[in-house]
Symmetry: C2
Subunit: 366 residues, 2 copies
């Protein structure tokens, strides 16, 4: 424990103080002024310690000092929030020095936040919205579920006003908390709204798992998953939100977008219900020609009703080719869309970029 | 991954389905009908795997099958929620099979929930309150902080009504999320209110760390920590809550209680501000005679204004003797209090019991 306090002290001397870092003893990781980062782990009995994270390819070896404290410094990183973990003698573990974590059904990574006063994920002195954890009963899935809902700061101070709603869906193995705690949707929205770059809106973050395993987007089983999600969204989630919050209840004021599995779910749901959704975003996701042929024979007419059909994928994403195939299908059918391709992978750094870009467009009708 | 699906299937066949267990693939732990529990871990290269948790003293060895899947079954457990973790070759790790986790500044345990339809931590078909994550600026600590706030179900449907407020503080290394996610304060309140055993109330769960290290309750440094907390509570947290929620703003409608460090903070704050708090609970916590002599010379008069001064400690708690000394001090001074001693340790199972018992008393004036 002595070592811990020593490193805590070093951190206080040398590292950035993020406004977000309210927590005690974040003795690892330590972010230096140049953006380089030192990771610490006290493990006197370990033989080999590595750090692996989405800020690098592969992993970095830590070296041990006489007290059994392992450390490694990685080169300056671009301002962002990166999931990472340690590997101790082949065993994957989160960083116990770090209060910040990535909510997931399975392994919960730690989160490395590079402090940056300009970054949209930074809690600034702007009006702050609230994040509500709400319990609802799903008659489709026959269980209680939790959804996470953001309301903008002015929601409280303008009690007569109604708001548009953005349904924001996370991916496979994510939970309803992932867009909040790893995506920082609330802080991005607070900052965009304060900068007048986004309309004040409600953001609804449900849990995307449909209790039927984890079918890949190209499998026949995915169809059942999409159909269940579409019903869950329109028959359970939307009615709950529209009963419990002050919402505009028409397609012009409803958006849906998601990352990975959530992108496919969003696309399927919006195209199934063009009367209900006017804005659609698909982040690192696609639908197969088979699904589109079967379910959306009038795709051109259906999609033409959308105010936005926005897609984005990183060129290193394992789904990049599939998203391009989706684009080609759209081209063949004469569908209007926006597609952004950019350097990047299937990561939450990319997901946050996508969220930011769509929020800048949403609910602004020409 | 094949093994995982197999065990997921076994779980679906044999284990309880908790209403709370909305998540995909909880392949470990598996709770059997008799309340015994099997833990699974896939670690083909591990040499020794143990499970340690607050449901037992010490740890239990897991045994390995030919596929590298380790497992161990522990004897039937009393219905409760237990923090636990694995130890793989001496390294402490959470259970990646389990979506449920214990929010903490440092190591985040997994949570084993024994399903039980009668338990107050079970999400039942009763009206559900909401849990709000709120960002505020602390002028005392000069940083943005998050607090977690529960509003009862009827808060939304009775928009003219005001509510009493219960400030509920967690302990050392806990965060503002611990009373929510490990304490299940929201579900306990939902159920107690539905059973008419508790008054509808707002519950405010702030982060208790005061940016001055972690002084033990008997150290001189604790005094500064208590004083800072008392100011943070009355100058930052309460004004935020009373501005943002519909609250009764008098001592008869304000309670404060906490577990461990939070219990000491609560006692110090309520006794410093008897004009502001009418109800006080101290769970597994105490103040030293030195602190009480110095700060509360008129303790009998001060404490006599309280509608409730409730203390509770487990007989195996490492602070048991200190709480008894606190009791003796109160006796010597002629202070009226309630003290419950019961089988138990310094655990969150005990903390949930304390919460339940105080909620049954709060805001019911004779």
């Amino acid at each position: 424990m002595r070592m811990k306090h020593l490193f805590s002290g070093l951190c206080a001397l040398f590292c950035f103080n993020s406004l977000q870092a309210q927590y005690n003893q974040p003795y690892s990781p330590v972010v230096h002024n140049d953006g380089s980062v030192t990771f610490y782990l006290h493990a006197p009995q370990a033989k080999k310690v590595e750090v692996a994270g989405q800020f690098q390819a592969g992993s970095t070896l830590l070296t041990r000092n006489a007290d059994g404290m392992w450390s490694a410094t990685v080169k300056p990183l671009e301002a962002d929030i990166y999931p990472y973990h340690f590997v101790i003698d082949g065993i994957k573990v989160p960083d116990s020095g770090n209060p910040l974590y990535f909510p997931n059904e399975n392994f919960k990574s730690s989160l490395l936040e590079i402090p940056n006063s300009e970054a949209l994920y930074t809690v600034n002195s702007v009006p702050h919205g609230k994040v509500h954890y709400c319990t609802y009963y799903s008659s489709i899935l026959q269980q209680h579920r939790t959804m996470v809902i953001y309301t903008p700061a002015e929601y409280e101070t303008s009690p007569q006003k109604k708001y548009p709603v953005f349904y924001l869906i996370s991916g496979t193995t994510d939970t309803e908390e992932t867009w909040y705690k790893a995506g920082r949707a609330h802080t991005i929205l607070d900052n965009l709204i304060a900068r007048k770059q986004a309309e004040p809106m409600i953001v609804v973050m449900p849990y995307g798992y449909m209790n039927n395993g984890t079918p890949g987007p190209s499998t026949p089983e995915a169809t059942g998953m999409y159909q269940t999600f579409s019903r869950e969204m329109t028959e359970c989630i939307m009615p709950y939100v529209e009963k419990n919050f002050r919402t505009f209840n028409d397609r012009h004021h409803r958006a849906i977008a998601g990352f990975s599995r959530g992108g496919g779910q969003s696309m399927f749901t919006a195209l199934t219900h063009p009367d209900k959704f006017g804005w659609l975003g698909s982040y690192s996701a696609y639908l197969t020609p088979q699904v589109m042929d079967k379910f959306f024979p009038d795709l051109k007419a259906t999609s033409s009703q959308l105010h936005m059909l926005w897609m984005c994928v990183g060129t290193s994403d394992f789904l990049y080719k599939d998203v391009i195939s989706n684009q080609q299908y759209f081209d063949k059918k004469g569908i209007k869309y926006q597609l952004v391709t950019r350097k990047g992978n299937h990561t939450w750094m990319h997901a946050r970029y996508c969220l930011t870009e769509t929020c800048k467009q949403l609910f602004k009708r020409k």
